[in-house]
Symmetry: C2
Amino acid sequence: MKSRKADVPEAQKRNTIPFYRKMAGLLKSEIFSESYPVGALLPTEQELCDRFSASRYTVREALRLLEKDGMVKRLQGRGTEVISKSERTVFAQSLTSLSQLYDYAAETHLVVERVMRIVSDETLANDLGRLPGREWILVEGMRTTTLGDIICISHIFVHQDFAKLRDEIKANKGAIHRLIEERFDVRVVEVHQEISSVSLEKSMARILEQVEGADGILVTRRYLADDDVPILVSFNWHRLAGFRYSQVIRRE
Amino acid sequence: MKSRKADVPEAQKRNTIPFYRKMAGLLKSEIFSESYPVGALLPTEQELCDRFSASRYTVREALRLLEKDGMVKRLQGRGTEVISKSERTVFAQSLTSLSQLYDYAAETHLVVERVMRIVSDETLANDLGRLPGREWILVEGMRTTTLGDIICISHIFVHQDFAKLRDEIKANKGAIHRLIEERFDVRVVEVHQEISSVSLEKSMARILEQVEGADGILVTRRYLADDDVPILVSFNWHRLAGFRYSQVIRRE
DNA sequence: AATCAAAATTTGTACGGACAAATGTACCAG
DNA sequence: CTGGTACATTTGTCCGTACAAATTTTGATT
């Protein structure tokens, strides 16, 4: 283990941990301690080069880390602005399994019963999070295991813009919002998910083999585009007994 | 708008869009079309330099983009492996509210009833996802609104390593796993969350003002460090009536 | 004082070189 | 055949330089 380089300044000892990481750590702590308060500009890259006796490459690598952690925003011609005291916790939703007794049956099928076109009234518009009077495609069906056991009843509202997919939806195995993203030039930017207990109305109860008014679980998911416009909204009614929703959230 | 540089090769025209981005785009499409199948290694950086007549800097910037989008994994000494045909969709869990009737009461309190030290037997070890015989701190209490209305009963198991926090936990208002991350040098890398229906046992039912055996909701969260070691595991029992869990997941 | 243009500042892109660290392979010794 | 060492390969870190592009500042002109 000899010195890493002939012309490495003293500030950069040979700790195995790269200098730009140390530098980023130091800058983070200085931001945290408000030496550089939120809203202020960090020193310029050149000034940081001087301060740390490092090359611009190294400084930029450090700043890149700060940016990745959501602590600074860099703007060409302006500088590096501090936007947060602490690291953003980025979680990547890596796995979402929704099952009900059927842990292993990862493969599920959407069995489409009916597809119809409807115009939203006030009540429905409220549920869908949008104005009344809009047209939607309503897909009614149920999600089952590959064995045919019912997991939940699904009502899926697809925005009128994607009406062309009407027939494709029936054949589609996977998630409908994926289909939309592939066929159209839209991106789902936000998903609002809600899990709540409900009392099952007669028709639902019958399909789920429950008595009318029995408790059940309603899982609602709203898929929104970047302008907050709902692309797809799904309602999924589950039996209470055996309901289990599990999810793994992983930090990047 | 004159030529961007004297020695810029022909492959890099002057399109305002930087060359490393174009290069990344091209490589992505080649991965998608299986010119480079999943599992295979991409050409080495040097080979890409030759192919695109670009410097290693530019090639590495392009590869960095592919890596960010989760399409390749780079490994020192090995190469750049293709791990996915399509871009990863990164969702950042930006907001998680867990409420029960109390939508506006974002502020909640953890009222600690008891703190004790326990050794896990097989059953408990199984629940906690770890080996039996380990020592844990068990914090028993309930989460309430600021008005004092009970939201849920909480049993929180904290790993023995963080036993020092025993007293701090009582005073602590926010999330305990935050406290641990701040005080110790650990990072929560994964959270396993599970929501399931349960039958409330007598003591739970009494506190939640339910009859014994009534249905309830159990929300379990396991906070894991990067070595899959559980740092904290919490069990939260809710009344069924009025239960509502909502979450917003935002794509980066 | 207001407006527009030029200049200065600052980050972005891109080139080149060099050595370090990690991985995989080939070879040798037992 | 097994185990370990030496070597080649490949990505990681770091230096230097130069010009481009975006923003802000300055200054001149109206």
